[in-house]
Assembly symmetry: C2
């Protein structure tokens, strides 16, 4: 992955704006520095940066995909009214609702964990292909 001014700018925007921005939001900010930057460039770079593990892609289940400059293990709370995304640090998930209510002043209505990885079938298929 080459260096490019635009890509660098896009990465910095996500790093420096911990609002879990959408591509559109990144685009708006990037235009201040690069007025001619294309929305396609923003999408392309956000996805490439995410593929290279420099950003995280998060689906907030409201509207667009969002991006996160924090790549360490942490979770997200999404407000169903303002749709903002907040960070959560918890070492366990027991009594989740009460804990979050008291610790973060956030009334949990539901939560959703999605674990990404490779399933047993695909792991086996992968080995079969190699052999």
């Amino acid at each position: 992955m080459n260096y490019s001014q635009q890509r660098n700018c896009i990465k910095n925007i996500v790093m420096e704006n911990p609002i879990h921005p959408t591509a559109e939001q990144v685009y708006e900010i990037a235009r201040r520095s690069y007025p001619k930057i294309s929305l396609g460039t923003v999408y392309r770079n956000l996805n490439q940066l995410a593929e290279h593990g420099m950003l995280k892609k998060i689906c907030s289940s409201y509207g667009s995909v969002r991006f996160d400059g924090r790549i360490d293990a942490h979770f997200h709370m999404v407000c169903s009214e303002c749709e903002r995304v907040f960070d959560v640090e918890l070492d366990e998930m027991l009594r989740l609702n009460d804990k979050i209510r008291t610790k973060y002043d956030f009334a949990v209505s539901e939560y959703e964990i999605s674990i990404k990885g490779t399933c047993g079938d695909c792991l086996a298929k992968r080995e079969a292909t190699v052999v």
Copy 2:
């Protein structure tokens, strides 16, 4: 929410096919019973059923939104290769990766929790509006 044959069919499809189907998949199955059913009808009903808590909407971060007939608390694993969605039951999240690897034969690359609810600001705003 009224009864309708199509809505009933759509609900049953999601209940009876625990593959976390997309709207498109539900549509394909529904057409076997209702060849003239419209994709719009499928989307409308899936969303209405989800709003009424009879289904759960899940974002798999691969392509389309998916729907789940299981509405009790459980989590999801998404395979990054075949993109299928699997159910997970875990009473805690500590040592998540190892546990899932041994219990489900699924190699976790990353996981993402999104907690839905209402943030403190919006709770306050809500009260202010009432008063």
